[in-house]
Symmetry: C2
Subunit: 199 residues, 2 copies
C-alpha cells in the first residue's frame, strides 16, 4: 500500500505519518524536507508531483495556509491566501490526482474546527474549511472506481498549545495522536463523505 | 430603510424583492436589467457599485454562478467559475461593502441545499456554498457596529422545477415565496451567523 502525504512535515502531517508508517509505504511531499517538493498553490507543481509519484492507494493532504485578519480589515487579496492554498490547493490535488489513485483507494483532506467554532480573525480559514468539507461530501457520491474521500477536522492540538493557545481560549486541546488516528480510519476504513471531527 | 439586492433579477432575487418592497427602498443590482450594473467576479465593479449606491441598511446577494461537472471530468479552471462568482463574489461584496453599511445593518448571502444534500456534478457549487456558510458563521462574531450577517440556503423552488427538476429527483420543491421570507427574516430580524435552510 502506497500513501502520499502532502504536508507530511507539519504537526498534523507527522501524526498521520506516525499512524500509517507501520501500515504502508509513505511518500512525503511538501514545500521542504520531504521526498517530493510540491507547492499546492500551483497546478503545475501538483501535476509534476503526481507524475513523479505514479500510482498510489491513498492521497492525504494536511497542508494549507490562510491569512488571519478581521473581516473589517481583510482585503480580497489577503483572502486569496486561503482560497489558493487551503481550499483550491486541496481541491486541485483531488481534481489532478484522481487518475493516479488505484481502484478502492482513498483521499483524505484536512479542514479544522474554525468552520464550526469560530474565533476572531479566522473567517478566511473558516471559509476554506467549510468549502473543503462540502466538496468532500458532494464528491463522495460520484468518485469513480470505489475511491473514497473524507476530511479530518482537528481542533488545536496539545502540541501546538504554546503557539496557538492564546487564540483558542476555552477550547479543549486534543492529542495530535488522536488526529493521526482519524487519518488512519479514513485511509484504512470503508467510509466515504465523512468529516472526522477531532474536537 | 435602503436595501441593495445584488442578483435582484433572478428567481430568488425577485422573491427577496417581493418580500421587502413594502418595507424598504430597494436598489437592484445585477449584470442586466437592474438599477445598477455589477459583475461580482470583479472587485473593481463591486467597488464602483458601492460608490454609486452610498450608504445602505442591508446588503443582499442572490447572485452566483458555478460550473456543473463530475469530479472525474472537472478541471481546476472549471472549478474557478464557482470560486470567483458564488464564493468570492459574495465574500468580496462583504469585504468591500462593509464600510457602506450603516450601524445595525445587515448582510444576507445565498448558499444552497447542494452543500448538505449533494447531487451529481455539483461538487463545485457545494464547495462554494459550504465556504460561504462557514465564512458567515465566523464573520458574525466580529462584524463591527452591530452589523449582522446570515445566509439563506434554498433548495430547488417550485418555480424552477421545470428547468431543474430532472437534477433534483426526490427533492421536495419549496415555494420561492418561502425563500423570500427567509431573506426578510434575515434583514428585519435580530439574528446573526445563521443559515436559514429552506429545504
Amino acid at each position: 500500500m502506497k500513501v502520499l502525504i502532502v504536508g507530511a512535515n507539519g504537526t498534523i502531517g507527522k501524526a498521520a505519518v506516525n499512524e500509517m508508517s507501520g501500515e504502508a509505504e509513505i511518500i512525503s511531499a511538501g514545500r521542504t524536507n520531504a521526498n517530493l517538493e510540491v507547492d499546492i498553490t500551483s497546478t503545475e507543481s501538483i501535476k509534476n508531483m503526481f507524475e513523479e509519484v505514479g500510482e498510489i492507494d491513498a492521497l492525504v493532504c494536511t497542508a494549507g495556509a490562510a491569512a488571519f485578519e478581521s473581516v473589517s480589515e481583510m482585503t480580497p487579496e489577503q483572502n486569496l491566501v486561503a482560497v489558493n492554498s487551503k481550499l483550491l490547493g486541496q481541491v486541485n490535488l483531488v481534481l489532478l490526482g484522481l487518475d493516479y489513485i488505484r481502484d478502492k483507494g482513498s483521499i483524505t483532506l484536512t479542514t479544522g474546527v474554525l468552520m464550526d467554532d469560530p474565533i476572531e480573525k479566522a473567517s478566511s480559514a473558516a471559509m476554506a474549511n467549510g468549502g473543503v468539507r462540502a466538496f468532500v461530501k458532494s464528491a463522495a457520491i460520484e468518485l469513480p472506481r470505489n475511491i473514497r474521500i473524507n476530511n479530518v477536522s482537528p481542533t488545536m492540538v496539545i502540541e501546538s498549545e504554546e503557539k496557538y493557545g492564546p487564540l483558542f481560549k476555552g477550547f479543549k486541546p486534543r492529542e495530535v495522536k488522536d488526529v493521526g488516528l482519524a487519518f488512519k480510519k479514513s485511509i484504512l476504513g470503508a467510509q466515504t463523505g465523512q468529516t472526522y471531527e477531532v474536537y
